[in-house]
Symmetry: C2
Subunit: 416 residues, 2 copies
């Protein structure tokens, strides 16, 4: 038994060592179909563990329909629904393709995605543009127009600047943003501002045409959630090398599709351990209440998996006006998260804790032992298709996922 425990501790140490060594660099912004392995024509990726069309939540269905219309694979909402229902347009989880996506998470081939390379290990991860409409299930033409501008103007302009400067290191931006009140999930406002600062000059130098440059500057300097797509891609690229370590109990993915919440554990391969997606405790935009709300959704909990988001709430009290709660509660959350993690980050530090490292590496054993589940910052989508964002709040990962994983861990490795 002690022998097993030692093996697990060593495997966990190896997992967090790899995450600590991660060096995520934004290397490209390219159409998803050109860069994401296995993303084929007539396929849309989505957030969370696998799900069937009949079980898919309203917001994710709406976003799927939006993606199909955006790709011009259907001329109407009805036609799009039928193609999805009949399996003519396929869908698979982002996490099965080295990708992540916020909220419904829909990624279709012509959408430009952030391409982040972990220079230490050579692996890549991808995330789509963050916006507040289509990814929440709004398939209206004006919602899709935001995707078109991203595809035709903003992503192209940013790409030109980015390639001209030879890539952008994300670790320094993330580390700095953590000293500027960001938690990099619902509140990446500082990182977004720093990112805009970093790209403007290179776009100008690269000769982006003035109209496109102005439009892109306007977009990136006013989009406070812009960096979430980058922190998600950086999180995925940072954590992926910690997958598949035998005996490791470190959680390497937490993702939700609005129907189910699923986790993956390093020592347990590619299996998802799921439970029903929880309800969110949050604040609603005017006109909406919790009766309108869908359940927890999105791959964005990759930020918590990487040690940011809810895990570093104590340093991001500015977020409380968005998600609710008090500074004392925020402090308590981060202290709790230290109890269920393997170590503290050596790259990402928290001034509010005297520059100690952010909690890193959720150990599913500790979750079950302490009864403390990871706290996640999140946004709230409508329960039905066709709506934009309706609120934001906090949610706890369901204990059931961790218990199921621990059971399988026991079966696989002969631990009780």
């Amino acid at each position: 038994m002690n022998d097993i425990k030692q093996k697990i501790d060593m495997a966990n140490a190896e997992a967090v060592k790899r995450i600590n060594e991660a060096d995520p660099v934004l290397v490209d912004i390219a159409p998803a179909g050109e860069v994401i392995p296995g993303l084929k024509d007539r396929m849309v990726l989505h957030s969370g563990p696998p799900v069937t069309w009949p079980n898919m939540c309203g917001a994710q269905r709406g976003a799927m329909i939006g993606a199909v219309l955006f790709e011009n694979w259907a001329g109407s909402v009805d036609e799009a629904s039928r193609l999805l229902e009949n399996g003519i347009i396929r869908f698979e989880p982002n996490h099965h393709h080295q990708a992540v996506g916020p909220m419904a998470g829909t990624i279709s081939p012509s959408m430009p995605v952030w391409v982040v390379e972990n220079r230490t290990f050579g692996n890549r991860a991808f995330c789509r543009q963050v916006e507040g409409r289509q990814q929440f299930g709004d398939y209206s033409d004006s919602a899709l127009e935001g995707l078109r501008q991203w595809r035709d103007i903003w992503a192209l302009s940013l790409r030109k600047g980015l390639l001209g400067m030879g890539g952008l290191e994300l670790r320094p931006i993330i580390a700095k943003a953590l000293t500027m009140g960001d938690e990099l999930h619902n509140r990446p406002v500082a990182a977004s501002s720093l990112f805009a600062n970093g790209l403007v000059g290179p776009m100008l130098e690269a000769g982006v045409e003035k109209g496109h440059l102005l439009s892109t500057i306007n977009y990136i300097t006013k989009h406070e959630l812009l960096f979430l797509g980058l922190s998600m891609a950086a999180g995925k690229a940072s954590v992926d090398p910690a997958a598949g370590i035998e005996y490791s109990a470190v959680v390497i993915a937490m993702a939700r599709n609005g129907t189910e919440f699923g986790i993956r554990v390093s020592g347990l391969g590619e299996e998802w351990f799921t439970a029903s997606s929880p309800r969110i405790n949050g604040l609603y935009f005017p006109g909406y209440t919790e009766k309108d709300a869908g359940a927890d959704m999105g791959d964005s909990a990759i930020t918590e998996t990487a040690g940011w988001g809810g895990l570093v709430l104590a340093g991001a009290t500015g977020i409380l006006s968005l998600v609710g709660g008090t500074p004392e509660e925020a402090l308590a959350y981060s202290k709790e998260m230290r109890q269920i993690t393997v170590t503290m980050s050596s790259s990402y530090r928290m001034p509010v804790f005297g520059f100690q490292g952010a909690p890193l590496g959720i150990d599913m054993r500790k979750v079950v032992q302490t009864g403390i589940t990871p706290i996640i910052d999140t946004a709230i989508a409508h329960r039905n298709p066709g709506y934009s964002i309706i609120g934001a709040g906090l949610v706890r990962a369901p204990m059931e996922c961790f218990k199921k994983a621990l059971l399988r861990f026991g079966q696989k490795y002969g631990v009780k």
Copy 2:
């Protein structure tokens, strides 16, 4: 006696009401000689209360010499010193000219200054460019080169963009930066980033030539202390309307010339109440120790006077790696500052205190009664002329200033 107390309370309430109503807007960036009232040819303004050449500290002398060389009023350091010593080049405090300046604070006529208008009251305030060399006493040609680029490229480009956009409201930037770990004095990194975000597009639209635009973008997106000049001008513009209110015990200026620390009080006109400039408790750059340090210097404590800087340290724990101390101490400082202020700001809020307002309006009576003096973030200059910045730290305003002011207050208003 109660009657007097009531008069003071009402006068203080009026003072903080005016500060609360301030609406500082950056309206221009123009040569000091064209906009600052009373700044004549062969005159240099400086930080702090009035001082004579023999009493002037080394760093301020060095900066004076730098300003004289920058203006080409002298061809050598010796000549510049002689002209200053003989009164051929005159110097007066910034505060006597609606102006403020960081560290030595030197403002000479051809230096472009930030022009901030308080739209509520119509008054204007001015602050010079913040940099890390000449204002610390370094008069080398390479230090002056930074001033020349500011004059010939950066200020001109920014001015073109600013005038094109019709001015820039500073209150929203300051309020937002306070939720992003800034205290707007030694740590204006978020505000600087947001400011850069706001000016890039307008400069491009205004047709700033590409080479100048690139140089200016490079300058404003990498200069983390850039916004200090703006928070100082905004602070001065915000507090000035609270001056000259009969019976008010609210402090409306705290300024240091490296020899003396002086305060002004609303109900006591333009008189300075001074004490020796204190030593700074701080961290030094490699190669320097406290033996090299000059005493406290600069008009930048206008940020504390306006309710930022040391007063809001609790929300800016990222600064502690620069100035030293623990998050617990930072929290304690801000709580202390609530004991010596009249109210809490209605514009500027602190997430770490559940979005309560920042402490506002230092009441000199409370300072003397409680024994708690204002805490100020500051940088450290060398004791001798010719050096750049050598460190940063925290300092307490000397109690003697407040006791002297209280004594005069008693004489003037018949209070004991």
